[in-house]
């Protein structure tokens, strides 16, 4: 194990930016489509699964301090089954990252710079991410921490500035078609939140796991809070019927900011998503390369970063034909598969670990 160490806050902040950006960019239209006006109810319902997955991830990390997911999977399930699970989880992270990276590039292409090839953005963000990862966990965690503080304050400012365009009466009537649409939205949100399991690859670098569970629960709470603005705001601004067909509702909301001479703040949206996507790419790319290195018994994961990054770019370009296809995948298939790997597998792991009475042991570090 490297002697690099990050603080709990830094690790959890990585999780926040990793989930928030993909959620705001890709999932908002999906959830609005499924849940309609009741998107905020979906969010309230999703709080419990979110807390649960945060707790599971943290308690697995506490039980196996200093071990990454792919390592403790082998301890729990035995060598061969464990490796199979390890690869499955790595593929899941990989796939999730390719989807998000593609969404990031498509956003630029669809909304800002139509003539620039999507590859420019994909390569650009990966160069940055590779550089950060090769510099070590400490560097990427600190960079993300620095960015996230700016991002959150900018996000709050943006949501305040769009206030005058919002009519919250658009959220009425509540539960017009019963609880079912809200449940659909909840499942989609759950599938988003379950990717927080990736933090299992970062927690081993955390200095001490004291209070990790509590902090992780708080983080999930913060994450849920981060979604109130865009989920209710889009409907309040555009009305339900219009907000459903919008590809990037949050971006359109920010575009409409007009407070005196303070207007045309598209740049804020671009900045929010670019820096946020950086956090996402860094977190996942790091997790994937570290995971592969551990599974293959390599001592240094850094040499893997470039090839994996290239693979992510190529796969992201091949895994869907268009943004619409990406969107349909996220709406119709992603929830089941993400919940299976991100929620059910970790739960099973924890259950087995509990049954086998695996406790933190000194030689784990």
């Amino acid at each position: 194990m490297n002697k690099e160490a990050i603080s709990k806050t830094q690790a959890l902040m990585l999780g926040i930016s990793g989930i928030t950006v993909s959620g705001h960019l890709l999932f908002i239209p999906v959830i609005l489509n499924l849940a309609g006006r009741d998107a905020w109810i979906s969010l309230a319902l999703a709080l419990f699964p979110a807390l649960y997955i945060g707790y599971v991830t943290a308690s697995l990390a506490c039980r196996f301090p200093g071990k990454t997911i792919v390592e403790y999977v082998q301890t729990i399930c035995g060598k061969w089954l464990g490796r199979a699970f390890g690869w499955l989880i790595i593929v899941y992270f990989f796939h999730d990252l390719t989807l998000n990276v593609r969404g990031f590039g498509e956003f630029y292409n669809a909304a800002i710079t139509p003539r620039t090839p999507i590859l420019v953005y994909l390569i650009g963000i990966h160069i940055l991410a590779v550089y950060a990862i090769r510099s070590g966990v400490e560097v990427l965690a600190r960079t993300n921490q620095f960015f996230l503080v700016i991002l959150i304050s900018m996000g709050i400012m943006a949501s305040l500035l769009t206030m005058r365009n919002k009519d919250y009466l658009n959220l009425l009537p509540i539960m017009e078609y019963g609880i079912k649409p809200a449940l659909g939205g909840m499942v989609s949100l759950m599938s988003l939140f379950t990717t927080i399991f990736v933090l299992g690859m970062v927690f081993p670098f955390v200095q001490s796991t004291r209070n990790l569970k509590r902090n992780s629960l708080i983080t999930m709470g913060v994450l849920v809070l981060m979604f109130i603005g865009p989920l209710t705001g889009a409907i309040a601004t555009f009305g339900l019927e219009r907000s459903i067909g919008l590809n990037f509702p949050t971006f359109l909301m920010l575009r409409d900011i007009k407070v005196g001479q303070l207007q045309r703040l598209d740049l804020v949206a671009v900045l929010l998503w670019s820096l946020g996507s950086f956090g996402k790419v860094v977190l996942f790319l790091h997790a994937i390369t570290l995971g592969i290195a551990k599974l293959c018994g390599m001592s240094d994961y850094r040499m893997l970063v470039v090839p994996v990054a290239v693979l992510v770019i190529v796969t992201s370009l091949y895994n869907s034909d268009s943004f619409i296809e990406l969107y349909r995948f996220l709406r119709d298939f992603y929830p089941y598969y993400s919940i299976l790997i991100g929620l059910i597998v970790p739960s099973l792991l924890l259950a087995v670990a509990l049954l086998r009475k695996m406790h933190p042991n000194p030689e784990g570090g």
Partner: protein, 396 residues
């Protein structure tokens, strides 16, 4: 060495700052500030785009050059309007680009005006491009005009050099000029269009002829829509009804007759405004009640009595009340007769009684006439600006 490489890499980043493949040079753009859409006799869209002429904007705008360049007339016009036709808006734009040596640049479009024919036949096919195009902004104001929108743009304004700017100011700063306007942006317009139980109403803007020449524009009422089709133009006293019920008008004036004697008028300036709407439903009967609580100043009067005299004051207020109530109810009856829901009663019914709405939604427009509609207005005269009564000689 390492630092040098880093520095070079940073310099390399500068190249991407212009937007990579999407760099835009100001001298290659034609900045569109206003657009008008008409429908031609053969059913095509005729799009008029008003662009800023860069050279004359430099030496002839902002008032300074205006008097000096008076002799030149049209030649010194700081804007240029170009029109083209197409079976769709985007094709019309392609045709425009065949005329324009510079690329049309849409983000600064201030106002989008629909010609009357297009508005009557439905604006929906014409606005899809404006919603979808990344360079178009949904904060653009939308309005309609009488006749053709194309004719609206080529007039030399006496105030302000740019006609489109003059039009959008006309709408945007209406409150500052103590009049009411709908101030509907493309975003709000599409929101209303896509929502059932509410129909849009747009400002109508027409050229104003003064001394035989068009010298300005005029806000000439509102156009009532049924879904995306214009069905009526309202410019009587009831025009204000929609501002009173939907927009919440402040700093706007209302004229009412003086109480008692049937001669003379008074003018009331709204300074504070509260609205409560009550919607109840019994069986299939919908009752809608608008409650307004309005504070304001007495601004003018032509009658000679002291309107603020304690025993006159309440009568004065009643006169204003009934005037406001009239406007609101008149607009409602007029729109209900046309089967259009300007006040959004259907939407409110949907919000408050979703169950009943599902059974009433079908054929809602025809139900509007049967709604028992009422308005209750309570006004308070809070101030009378600098004087309390007109300069009357007291007769003994």
């Amino acid at each position: 060495m390492r630092r040098l490489c880093l520095l070079l890499a940073l310099c390399g980043l500068l190249f991407s700052q212009a937007g990579c493949w999407d760099k835009k040079e100001l001298n290659e753009l034609a900045i569109v500030i206003g657009a008008g859409i008409d429908k031609t006799a053969d059913g095509q869209f005729r799009l008029t785009a008003q662009v800023i002429k860069p050279t004359s904007a430099k030496n002839g705008s902002q008032g300074i050059g205006e008097s000096g360049g008076g002799g030149g007339g049209g030649a010194d016009f700081p804007t240029w309007s170009l029109s083209a036709e197409g079976k769709s808006v985007m094709e019309a734009i392609a045709q425009l680009n065949k005329i324009s040596p510079r690329r049309l640049f849409w983000p600064h479009t201030l106002i989008l005006v629909f010609g009357e024919k297009l508005a009557r036949e439905g604006v929906l096919p014409a606005i899809t491009w404006f919603e979808r195009e990344r360079y178009s902004r949904t904060g653009t104001y939308v309005a309609i005009t009488k006749g053709k929108a194309e004719d609206l743009f080529n007039h030399k304004m006496q105030l302000g050099a740019l006609p489109s700017k003059a039009m959008s100011d006309m709408i945007e700063t209406a409150n500052l000029r103590q009049i009411s306007s709908r101030k509907l942006t493309l975003r709000e317009f599409t929101d209303i269009l896509s929502t059932s139980g509410i129909d849009p109403a747009l400002d109508m803007i027409v050229p104003k002829v003064i001394r035989g020449k068009v010298e300005s524009y005029q806000l000439a009422g509102i156009g009532l829509f049924k879904e995306d089709k214009l069905i009526d133009i309202v410019n009587g006293p009831e025009t204000m009804g929609i501002s009173l019920v939907r927009d919440g008008m402040i700093n706007t004036i209302i004229q009412a007759p003086c109480p008692d004697k049937k001669q003379g008028n008074l003018v009331f300036k709204i300074t504070n405004y509260q609205r409560k709407t009550k919607l109840s439903i019994s069986g299939k009967q919908v009752n809608y009640d608008v409650n307004l609580l309005i504070d304001g100043d007495l601004g003018d009067q032509t009658c000679t009595m002291d309107l603020l005299d304690p025993d006159k004051k309440s009568k004065t207020e009643q006169s204003i009340n009934s005037e406001i109530k009239n406007k609101i109810i008149k607009l409602f009856t007029r729109s209900a007769a046309l089967n259009t829901d300007v006040y959004g009663i259907g939407r409110q019914l949907h919000r408050q009684h979703p169950g009943e709405w599902h059974s009433l939604e079908k054929g809602w427009e025809s139900r509007l006439k049967k709604i028992s509609f009422d308005a209750h207005v309570k006004t308070n005269i809070r101030r009378s600006d600098l004087t309390s009564n007109p300069s009357i000689r007291k007769k003994r």
